[in-house]
């Protein structure tokens, strides 16, 4: 089981969500975050004083997924979140040690 964490542009969230539904992914968690990679922020002026807006708004999407759907999930996110411009984001895949469904107590692959 894997945890897929994708940092994407916020306005791409709906597209990514639809793409994931289409391949059968049933649950995701979304957080509003700020960050930057190689996409630089910009400098603004406030009453004559310069300040740097480094942190850009992004959306973090987390999905717990079984091995069988992993490649399709990565494909779906990459395609849906792509704009071709700098700042499209990154996907991180980490090992997931255990999953438990709270309501029923199911564990492992059945809880995905």
């Amino acid at each position: 089981m894997k945890l897929v964490t994708a940092i994407i542009k916020p306005f791409k969230l709906e597209d990514v969500r639809e793409a994931l539904s289409e391949i059968g992914v049933q649950g995701i968690t979304v957080t509003e975050v700020k960050g930057f990679g190689r996409q630089k922020g910009h400098t603004e002026l406030y009453r004559g004083a310069e300040y740097v807006v480094d942190f850009l708004p992004k959306a973090k999407v987390e999905i717990a997924i079984g091995e069988s759907l992993l490649d399709q999930t990565l494909e779906a996110i990459t395609t849906a979140a792509n704009t071709g411009k700098i700042g499209d984001g990154k996907i991180f895949v980490t090992e997931l040690a255990q999953i438990i469904r709270i309501r029923t107590g199911e564990t492992g692959e059945e809880a995905v």
Binding site: F11, K34, H42, E44, L45, Y46, V53, F55
Partner: protein, 421 residues
């Protein structure tokens, strides 16, 4: 002794005009808060900048030439006298009118009262074009609207001039007490012309025709704005009685305040109930629009209806505005705050119900007046927006629209988060 009574009357009527003007000025704060509350946080600074600037532009342009075009007040207000002969000429005018005749008051107070109406008409446009228009293009339009377009139609209505020498609206039975048509429908007409050329916000209408909700960022501000407008409207309608200093006028003023309030209350309930029926929930934003719709509906004639009639007129206006907002979305006309519905659709309704309680007006007169105002304002506004679109462009780029116009137009956020200082 008689002169002293005239002086007191003059002072009272001038004072009344000034206070009502100040109340209408306060409506600018109302519009600012309402619009700031109904746009997204990334577009808040820009809409506030737009609102404060358009108020200033309106005041200046009306001073430069608008007042002269509308009321023959002289360029740069040269027609408003100053100096010693003010007193003697005022007394002479008072004797002419007599105690119960038309009000006599300071010329400066007349300008002050009129200029805040111009700003009101202009600020209606700012809500409809929110979140995607270039700020400076909007202000350029404001210069023309407040310096020329509005004064022209104002001169044909409140100043009784013939429309390009062809016909006189007053003679045809047109009556618009405080401006449902002259101010509100006119503002909405200018807004409609702008929105046609501007287009809807990205993502508002999906390719399948579904309407996407784009929720406002601050409903407390929107509510505050509505209450501020409600209170300011007492000056808007109340001041339009134009006189306070005798019993008949004072009674009229009291009735106008009462009816204005009743219509707002009726409008809010009408919209709230209809929204509950249609959506299953109590929609605050519809309720707020409903209150304003009630106010717009009564503005064309707040003195002759009974209190119950005023409440009912407002109630109907509140229902009309809900249907109009839904209708606009069906037509893919994107109006983030419902300005065109509140001021345009209900402004027209307000004009058409005047003959129901006022024998001095006729339905044909109201329709001809409404058409005159709409055609003039829409056509000239369309021409100006079109010219601006060609010369400088009126819409921000897609990138800027995503980031928020706060950054592209103003360079500062309204709700800065993640500050590192």
């Amino acid at each position: 002794m008689e002169n002293q009574i005239f002086e007191l009357q003059y002072a009272m009527d001038t004072f009344y005009f000034l206070i009502c003007g100040a109340l209408v000025m306060w409506m600018a704060a109302g519009f600012s808060m309402l619009e700031a509350g109904l746009v997204r946080s990334k577009n808040t600074t820009e809409i506030l900048t737009k609102n404060v600037s358009l108020f200033a532009v309106s005041c200046i342009m009306y001073l430069v030439c608008g007042y002269s075009i509308m009321y023959d007040g002289g360029i740069f207000l040269s027609g408003i006298q100053g100096g010693e002969d003010l007193v003697s000429s005022a007394l002479a005018a008072s004797v002419d009118e007599g105690f119960s005749g038309g009000a006599v008051y300071a010329g400066a107070s007349d300008f002050f009262f009129q200029v805040v109406f111009v700003a009101t008409a202009m600020s209606i446009v700012s809500g409809a074009v929110a979140e995607r228009m270039k700020l400076w293009a909007f202000l350029a339009f404001a210069v023309v609207m407040t310096g020329f377009i509005y004064p022209m139609e104002g001169s044909w209505t409140w100043n009784g001039d013939a429309v390009f020498g062809m016909y006189t609206l007053g003679d045809l039975g047109f009556s618009d007490f405080a401006g449902s048509g002259i101010v509100h429908m006119a503002g909405a007409s200018a807004a409609l012309a702008g929105v046609f050329l501007l287009g809807s916000r990205k993502g508002k209408y999906s390719s399948t025709g579904a309407v996407q909700a784009i929720p406002g960022a601050n409903l407390p501000l929107a509510t505050l704005g509505t209450f501020i407008l409600w209170m300011g409207w007492f000056g808007f309608n109340g001041g339009s009685v134009l006189k306070l200093g005798d019993i008949t006028s004072a009674n009229s003023v009291a009735m106008v305040f009462l009816n204005t309030n009743a219509a707002a209350a009726g409008g809010l309930i009408g919209a709230l109930i209809l929204a509950r029926i249609l959506f299953g929930k109590a929609d605050l934003t519809m309720a707020l629009n409903g209150a304003l719709a009630g106010l717009v509906a009564i503005t064309a004639e707040p003195s002759t209806p009974t209190a119950l009639e005023a409440t009912i007129f407002g109630f109907i206006g509140g229902m009309i505005v809900v249907l109009s907002i839904l209708g606009m979305d069906k037509l893919k006309i994107d109006d983030p705050v419902g300005a065109i519905s509140v001021h345009g659709t209900v402004g027209l309704f307000g004009l058409l119900i005047v003959p129901l309680t006022n024998d001095g007006s006729t339905f044909t007169g109201q329709i001809i007046g409404a058409l005159t105002i709409f055609v003039w304002v829409f056509a000239t506004s369309f021409a100006v927006w079109f010219a601006l679109k060609k010369v400088m462009g009126i819409r921000v780029s897609e990138e800027e629209e995503h980031e928020g116009v706060d950054f592209s137009e103003c360079g500062m956020e309204a709700y800065p988060e993640f500050v590192t200082q």
